[in-house]
């Protein structure tokens, strides 16, 4: 039985081109003696054929100055080559020695730079050997891009939906103000800011006076209307950077960043009460409410704590209510002491 051991096989160059359209044969003198059809189609300034291999290609890996002697030592290895002229297309491949004295046979592919090479040289599917996965690679590249853009779009939609859901989870639906959860988060943030050495802030707690009367005598619709109008007035009195939350039926808490002067806070409190006391019209009738306010400031504490500040503002509010409706009190050791008794 015939075996190939020790023998050689002869192959017609055209047949070789069918198997390997990207092959290059270089002569013993280092001249490009023949090339496959795809290599012949490369868009270059002058043809590769009959020029010196080392003048047209640069050996990138393994790094060594290219000479035929070296190349012979490189047979069977993974080679990275690059054109020495524009578009500097990269190739990978390997080479084997032809029958003694006939030179070297290179077989090349474009490797990872395939898409760029196809574009620069205007190649088509017919330029690749049937065994080459180049077309599948290009297909996959496009398929991946299409799928990725769908996923990016989906992520965008999900992010918008999440932001909307989060906003809803932190908003009081009746008044559009922040809710209790949002307040807890913001207060936590403000306290952390102060602890890090940031500016102080004031915390105001407001209870609407006589709201229960409106609700009981004129109904829930009137109550809701009064709350909506009161929320509107809060928005007008406070600055845009102030954080206004509705934390209970007729209770509101406001965080005022940077406001730490008791005189300023008193002025804000008086303005607020004046505004709240303006009659609110409901079905031709005037509803009259007022507001009691308890205030505390982060500067009153060596190390402010959210719960402590809320309970101190509450104590100050209780004190204000005891003094009659439409009053405000700023927390101090005195109010704290009287609240505990």
């Amino acid at each position: 039985m015939d075996t190939m051991v020790g023998g050689t096989i002869g192959i017609d160059p055209t047949a070789l081109g069918v198997l390997m359209p990207m092959h290059i044969v270089i002569s013993a003198e280092g001249e490009i003696a023949s090339v496959g059809t795809t290599i012949a189609r490369l868009r270059l300034g002058r043809p590769l054929l009959h020029s010196q291999f080392r003048e047209r290609f640069e050996l990138r890996k393994p790094h060594t100055s290219i000479s035929l002697g070296d190349l012979r030592r490189l047979t069977g290895q993974r080679l990275h080559l690059r054109l020495r002229e524009s578009p500097f297309t990269a190739f990978r491949g390997t080479c084997v020695e032809l029958a003694t004295g006939q030179g070297l046979l290179f077989n090349l592919s474009f490797g990872i730079g395939l898409a760029e090479a196809v574009r620069s040289h205007g190649l088509t599917a017919a330029d690749f050997a049937p065994t080459d996965l180049a077309i599948e690679f290009l297909y996959l590249k496009e398929a991946k891009a299409a799928v990725m853009s769908e996923i990016v779009a989906l992520n965008g939609r999900l992010r918008v939906a999440r932001q909307r859901a989060e906003a809803q989870a932190l908003t009081d639906p009746l008044t559009g103000l922040h809710n209790r959860r949002a307040l807890d988060m913001e207060l936590q943030r403000s306290v952390a800011g102060v602890l890090r050495g940031g500016p102080g802030f004031a915390l105001m707690q407001i209870d609407l006076d006589f709201f229960k009367v409106v609700n009981d005598t004129k109904g829930h619709a009137a109550g809701d209307h009064v709350l909506t109008v009161a929320a509107e007035r809060l928005r007008k009195v406070f600055r845009s950077q102030d954080f206004i939350a509705r934390v209970g039926g007729d209770e509101f808490v406001i965080l005022l960043p940077g406001l730490t002067e008791p005189a300023d806070l008193r002025r804000v409190a008086r303005r607020l009460i004046r505004n709240i006391e303006q009659p609110i019209e409901w079905q031709g009738e005037a509803c009259r409410i007022s507001g009691s306010i308890g205030i505390t400031m982060s500067s009153l504490y060596a190390s402010p704590d959210p719960d402590r500040m809320l309970s101190d503002a509450d104590a100050a509010l209780y004190e204000a209510k005891r003094s009659g409706r439409g009053c405000y009190r700023v927390h101090s050791e005195k109010t704290a002491a009287s609240a505990r008794t």
């Binding site: 088509t124 077309i135 297909y139 996959l140 496009e142 398929a143 299409a146 769908e150 989906l154």
Partner: protein
């Protein structure tokens, strides 16, 4: 069924019959009018309900709608390009159809497609067999293969033969100038 399939049907309905009709079909099928996400997987029943509701609202058989969806998909440039990777000539494309499920898997691993078998070739007669044939899939393929004939510039008669079979009679492979296809997007420089 994969969201890509549901989204394709939705997209076809919106584009061909308008958002209002889509909305009515969605309501009838118990689907959110906002539609489907292409990259999510839905219960198979959803696809069935959608096709049934569309058939009732449009007073057309599911198969006819599925065929139009197939043709409509070829009008979507990224997909048309992916399909053109199947072969240089229409005949190569036809003969590569049995690779379509694997190709689809390469792109979207969780896209579940039925097995495809292509046979024949004598006198330009081919038969494409689709197993299992659910959701009017063979009809959709018939529409797609017909639209791709136009894309390649080939003249072919394509019919659904029932039982998941589609027959293709290739009359003239180069009947007209097909649409251009470069291996890389944007073409050669």
């Amino acid at each position: 069924m994969h969201g890509l399939v549901n989204r394709s049907i939705e997209s076809f309905l919106r584009h061909t019959y308008g958002n209002e009709t889509w909305g009515e079909i969605a309501d009838q099928a118990g689907i959110d009018r906002a539609g489907f996400e292409a990259m999510m997987v839905y219960d198979d029943a959803v696809t069935n309900d959608l096709l049934r509701a569309a058939a009732i609202r449009l007073d057309r058989p599911v198969e006819a709608i599925a065929e139009d969806v197939g043709a409509y998909l070829v009008g979507y440039e990224p997909l048309r390009r992916l399909l053109r990777f199947g072969g240089v000539e229409y005949i190569d494309f036809l003969l590569s159809l049995d690779e379509l499920p694997d190709r689809a898997h390469l792109a979207v691993p969780d896209l579940d497609m039925p097995d495809l078998e292509i046979s024949g070739g004598e006198n330009g007669h081919f038969e494409l067999c689709c197993k299992p044939d659910r959701f009017g899939f063979s009809s959709m393929l018939a529409g797609l293969v017909r639209a791709m004939a136009d894309d390649y510039g080939a003249l072919a008669l394509i019919e659904c033969a029932g039982g998941g079979r589609v027959t293709i009679d290739l009359l003239d492979e180069r009947h007209a100038r097909g649409r251009a296809f470069d291996l890389t997007k944007g073409g050669a420089v």
